[in-house]
Structures are given as structure tokens and as C-alpha cells.
């Protein structure tokens, strides 16, 4: 239903998925019920146990709508329906057990020119019933359910139109809808992730300086004072004030959380420093990370894995992770661009198709090899043409495949 609202047509793919729950429900019991008609014919049919449906049906089958002349004049007079037509409708409905398809088949307007649809007949019948039955039941005191006789003609007409359109659509349109449906599902599923990933990346890129490595207590005998000096100088050059660096790195530290700085939370106990260099926490990144390390000649552990060297190595490695992150995002964006380009190509093709003779001069579907600026120009040109040339072809182009498949 929602899909019908968005694209003007109901989808072929059911939007509600089959659930195990509905399958797990117990099957209803059915029984043979019988009904004796007023003319003595006995009808037997299956119906769910305890259902009141049959009695209702019976009630409607026995329903006879009769009205006096005065009732007709005061309640039922309509500019669209003559008395003769109304009488005929009531008679046929009675004769054919309210089977309006048959009624419609047999119905012949008294003047022989007015053609009435099934919906017209139903609407009229329900209108009459909802006026007359309360009058009759008011006398006996029996309850009257008005909902039985409410008939929304517009909705019914639209429903049938939708079904017909659905039936008439082309294979391409069906395929495109399917494609879009899954694309939509994909977006619904991963959209939030993608956005988060992008935000995260933007944050990293905004200040991809790394957190200041944790300072370990001085190690006896190890000579690490010399080059920490130079590193500090380097850091000082990066940021104007020390405080600024600290604040910034705190922000980055949280931003890098998902890049998985495995080492920052040093576990209790004993370990070998050189064996605990940064690696991505997500195992699916491990092989890609390794490839990158190899590319930068980083695969071998440092020759002198003390605090100083390991911290530098970790800094390089976390930069490699940032790089990996960016590269992955670029890859994903490129994939998305390909599918967008395909979508655009279809849009352009669809419009050319629907545009008819006026669009004949325009380039046909462009292969995805076309440069983006080309496509851009084409869109611009289209816009201009439309604005300048007036809406000559615009109104008629509504029925293209393209419109059917529109989603947003």
C-alpha cells in the first residue's frame, strides 16, 4: 500500500514478508454448512467453524429492498438515476444474489445510452440499502450494521485501475522496479552505517593527527631519551600550543575508536612489546591491512622494538589504518557512483522513450563510459529545452516506464 502511494502503482513484490509466526498459527477448523433457500434449494458449502459469515451472507441473500413511491421521492431520488433504472438494479441484484458482475452484465439502462460501471451499480445499491434498511429495522428493533453498506467508489475504481496498470506493465518495468526495490532495501539496511562511517571519516580527516602515545615509566638501561626530543619537536611544530594538541588528540582518540587501536588499552599481565603493534580489530580488515603494510615495507617488525620505535611504528600503522579506511570508502563511493550512473542512464533513456517525437533528436541512452561533465550538460540542456519550448510534450510523457518506476 505504501508503495502504491509513492509510485502511483502497487508493487509486484509483496512488501510484507512471510513470517514464521503466521505459519506457526494453528489451522482453523472448517465445517460443512448448509443453507436452504426460500425456493427450497439446499446449498452446502465449507465455512470456518463458528463463523457468522454464513448467516450474514444468508441475511444479505434474503435481503429484499422495497420502497414505496413516496420513499423513493423523498430519500432515493437522484439526478443520475431514473426510477426505472433503480428498479431494474434492485430486481437484478435480487435475482442474481447480489453478484454485481452478473448484474452489470445484464443491466441495460432504460434510455439505452447511459453506461454504468460495476462500481456505479454497487454505489447506487449501497446507497439505497443504507437508506431503506434503517427504516425497516427501526420498526423491529433489530440492529443495523451500516458498515456493510458503505462503499467507497473512488477507492474501488483506483484499485481496479492499479491492478490493470500492474497487469499491463512491461517486463523492463518489472525488472526495474525489482532493482529499485532491492536498492531501497539495501539503503534502508545500510544507510545508517554508511552515514556513520562517513561522519567518522570526516572527523578523522578533519584532524587526523594521532593521540600522543602513552608515556611509559622510564625503563632502566634503555636509551630512549634521545629521539623523544625530536618527536616532541615534531609535535610542537604540528600544534601551536600543547594544550591544543591534548584537546585535539582526545577528540581524535575517540574518533579513532572504530579504527580499532588495539594497543591503547594495555591489558594486565606480561607481553612482548614488539608483538603488540597496532592491528585492526575487525578481522575482515586484517588481510587488506597486511597488504598495505607490505606496500609500505612495514611487514617486518622493527629491528629495535623499544618504546620509542614501537610508538613510531604504531603511529605509522594507525596512519595506514586511516588510509585503509579512506581507500575503502572511496571504493564504496565508486561502486555507488556506478549504480547511480546506471540509474541516470535509465532515467534519460526512459524520458527519451516517453518524450516521443520531440525527444527524437536527443542522444539515445548513453553508455556509462560517458564522462560526467557530458551527462551534466545533457541534463542542463534538457532543463533549458523544457523551460523554453513550453509544455508541449510534457503532459503526454507521464506514462513512460520511467514514471512508473519513480520512487522518491
Amino acid at each position: 500500500m505504501e508503495m502504491a502511494d509513492v509510485c502511483g502503482l502497487p508493487p509486484l513484490i509483496p512488501s510484507g514478508l512471510w513470517s514464521a509466526k503466521s505459519a506457526a498459527e494453528k489451522a482453523r477448523k472448517w465445517e460443512m454448512s448448509q443453507r436452504v433457500r426460500s425456493d427450497g434449494l439446499v446449498l452446502r458449502h465449507w465455512s470456518p467453524c463458528g463463523s457468522t459469515h454464513t448467516t450474514q451472507e444468508a441475511a444479505s441473500a434474503d435481503l429484499s429492498l422495497t420502497y414505496s413511491d413516496s420513499e423513493y421521492d423523498s430519500l432515493l431520488a437522484s439526478p443520475e438515476w431514473s426510477r426505472a433504472d433503480t428498479d431494474l438494479l434492485i430486481q437484478l441484484a435480487q435475482d442474481f444474489n447480489h453478484n454485481f458482475i452478473v448484474v452489470h452484465d445484464r443491466f441495460e439502462s432504460a434510455d439505452g445510452t447511459t453506461s454504468r460501471s460495476v462500481e456505479d451499480l454497487k454505489e447506487r445499491y449501497c446507497h439505497i440499502a443504507s437508506k431503506i434498511i434503517p427504516l425497516r429495522t427501526a420498526a423491529t428493533g433489530a440492529p443495523f450494521d451500516a458498515s456493510i453498506f458503505t462503499f467507497n467508489k473512488d477507492r474501488e475504481t483506483q484499485r481496479k485501475k492499479n491492478l490493470e496498470a500492474l497487469h499491463a506493465r512491461s517486463v523492463e518495468a518489472v525488472q526495474e522496479e525489482e532493482m529499485l526495490f532491492y536498492e531501497l532495501k539495501r539503503r534502508e539496511l545500510y544507510g545508517a552505517d554508511w552515514q556513520a562511517e562517513r561522519d567518522h571519516l570526516v572527523q578523522i580527516m578533519a584532524n587526523h593527527e594521532l593521540p600522543v602515545p602513552m608515556q611509559l615509566p622510564p625503563i632502566p638501561g634503555s636509551s630512549s631519551s634521545g629521539s623523544t626530543e625530536s618527536r616532541k619537536k615534531k609535535r610542537a611544530a604540528d600544534a601551536a600550543s600543547g594544550e591544543h594538541t591534548k584537546r585535539k588528540s582526545a577528540a581524535v582518540a575517540s574518533a579513532l575508536e572504530s579504527v580499532a587501536l588495539a594497543k591503547r588499552d594495555t591489558p594486565q599481565g606480561v607481553f612482548i612489546r614488539g608483538q603488540r603493534l597496532l592491528t585492526p580489530r575487525a578481522s575482515n580488515l586484517a588481510s587488506k591491512f597486511k597488504e598495505l603494510l607490505e606496500e609500505y615495507n612495514l611487514l617486518n617488525p622493527p629491528l629495535l622494538p623499544n618504546t620509542t620505535v614501537c610508538d613510531v611504528a604504531d603511529e605509522v600503522r594507525s596512519n595506514v589504518m586511516v588510509l585503509l579506511d579512506i581507500r575503502k570508502t572511496v571504493e564504496r563511493l565508486e561502486h555507488e557512483t556506478i549504480s547511480l550512473r546506471e540509474r541516470k542512464r535509465m532515467l534519460l533513456a526512459g524520458e527519451v522513450l516517453a518524450g516521443g517525437p520531440s525527444g527524437g533528436g536527443a542522444a539515445p541512452a548513453r553508455a556509462d563510459s560517458g564522462s560526467t561533465s557530458d551527462e551534466y550538460d545533457e541534463v542542463e540542456a534538457r532543463k533549458k529545452k523544457k523551460a523554453g519550448g513550453g509544455g508541449s510534450g510534457g503532459g503526454g510523457s507521464g506514462s513512460g516506464i520511467f514514471k512508473k518506476a519513480r520512487f522518491h
Binding site: 614488539g274 612495514l298 620509542t308 620505535v309 555507488e336 534538457r382 510523457s397
Partner: protein, 243 residues
Amino acid sequence: MARRLKASTHPNATQGEHQTNTTKHTQNEQFCCPIIFGSVAGRIGKKDPPPSDPSHTHRWTVFVRGANGEDISPIIKRVSFKLHESFVPPVRVIESPPFEVTETGWGEFEILIKLSFADSQEKPLPLFHQLQLYPKDKDPDPDAEYAKLPITSEHYEEIVFNEPHEEFIEPLRRYRAQVLANPGKSVSSTFTPQLEASETKRLYAINDKVLADIEKWKSKLAAAEHTKKRLENDIRSLEAEAV
């Protein structure tokens, strides 16, 4: 490498001298024990005592020691060397310093060195060393001059005790005090401040390359985002146009 589990699950926990079940860790204490491990190998000359097997050409020693010549036995209780299957027995367990094994042989293989700590609640840590007998990148000509020089292959590692168990803090403090009292000279001519400087320099050079690549990819990313946005806009306007 093997990320350690809670110390109490360690199978040797009952063998050690600390049989108490206290697994309480100290707070904000960290000790570091730099070690050097590796092997030294030399050809067996005519004057040397002959090997047990006449096919053996080299005498080699695989070792683990303090990086500055200090005694590591207060911290490391036992070192086991797992040699090639052909040695009998293949696993040599050394319980007291010097932690080393001398053997004769003719082939190179990987030795698994397992360090067990005085704190028996800590899991043993593995180290790997590729035994080297022949000079790298050189013709294995036994008569050449360089072939007579000893071949040394060693690695530097730092064993870090982060927030060690309370019972273990005293040995560690004693070790630290011992090291501070006798600032021994580095036992290796390889692992010097110069090496640290050159390693740092090398890594920073790589880092610069990575940073430059990050910039390059950032602009690629911006371009990709731009293209995507423009396509989205185009599609939107095409759709709007068709309504």
C-alpha cells in the same frame, strides 16, 4: 600474537612457588625487561673438538639474555628451546642462567623459544628464532675467508609487565634496582641508540609517505563524493522534471 587470558587459567598455576589463588593486580605499575635472543654459529675447525656426528659442520649456540648483560633469572624462571625434530631430545628446558643451548649441526631451522616467568600465574610467551649458520646473500663456500667468521643473528625484544600481580612486584623491583645499580654495557653491538635513531628515521620516512598518500586519497575521496552528489542531484532533477 597470543593475547593472554586471565592468569588464573594458566595450567602451570599450581606448580609455581606462588600457590595462593590471589590474582590481584597492582595498579599503575609497569616494568620492562629488555632481552636479546638469537644464535651464534661457527664452523667446526680442525683444532676444535670433533662433533658427535661427522656430518655436522657447525657448532652453534641459541640464547636468551638480558639486553645489557643483567641477570634475568629473578624474572624468567625457565626457558625452553624447541629444536628440530632430529635432535635428541628436541626440547631443551633450561632452568637457570645462562639460558642457552649449544649444539652441532649442518642445517638451519626455526627454533621456538618459550619464556616462563617467575610469576607462575603468567602464561609462557613464545619467541621465534631462525637459526642462521651461513652468511646471507653469499656463496656458501666453506673455504672463503668470511665463512670462518662466526655468524650472529639476534633480536631485541622488551618484555613488558603491565600491572603485575602483587606477589611478583618485589622480584621486579629488585630486578630494576639491580639494573639501576650496575648500568651494564650493552652485550650487543647491534642494538644501540644509533639503531634506534635509524629505525625511527626510517619509520618517519615511511610515515611521511603514508601521510602524503592519505592526502592523495583524501582528494580522491572528495572527488568521488562530488561526483556522487552531482549524480544524485541530476537524478533528482530528472525525476522532478518527469512528474
